[in-house]
Amino acid sequence: MLRILYFAGLREQLATNQEDLPLPTGVHDVAGLLAFLAARGGDWQHLQRTRNLRCAVNQEMASFDCPLRGDEELAFFPPVTGG
């Protein structure tokens, strides 16, 4: 099972902070998952509209070509602004 977390402005736009999802059929990497999620339509299209969307896989920054096995913790968020 994938655990997907959403943070900051993206969390608010999606009105979701977390969901558990089996790896969808045909999805092999982060980019594939993003396309799957955005295809839900409505607010989910924010995932593809967010400028400079960032992703973490198992709590480390990852690129969209990062492969997925189906048991990862993923997070999507806008660029960080701490400090």
Binding site: L5, F7, A8, G9, N52, A56, Q59, E60, M61, A75, F77, P78, P79, V80, T81, G82, G83
Partner: protein, 150 residues
Amino acid sequence: MQVRVQESDFEVATELAAICRNRPQIGAVACFVGLVRDISEHSEVRELTLEHYPGMTEKALQAIVDQAAQRWPIIDARVVHRVGRLQPCDQIVLVAVASEHRGDAFAACEFIIDYLKTHAPFWKRELTPSGTRWVEARQADEQASERWRR
């Protein structure tokens, strides 16, 4: 090397004393403290709320401190970052680095805060007179972080 994420405030003197205690080899401590400003993008900021990614935040901060320790001969480093609701003048973040000589402490301290701003999963939301807004990442922060790659 210690990293902490907390809602409560921190005392700079206490943190520096903890780093230096019983370590007579330390000759320099460089310290950066970030504060909440009352103006951002030309509008008044009444409150700042800091969100983070529990678990990843601590790992990311530790990784940044570890990189600094590989790059400069530092004796100790400490990062304390606050989350939750903050008001103007409140302390947000402390980066303190101890070394034998000042050059390494200054450089490592600046590296850590530059990397923290672009690599640690924190997000700021401001309360202004016209409502709340998420702070946008600044190009200048990205450039400050990039220059350490050279």
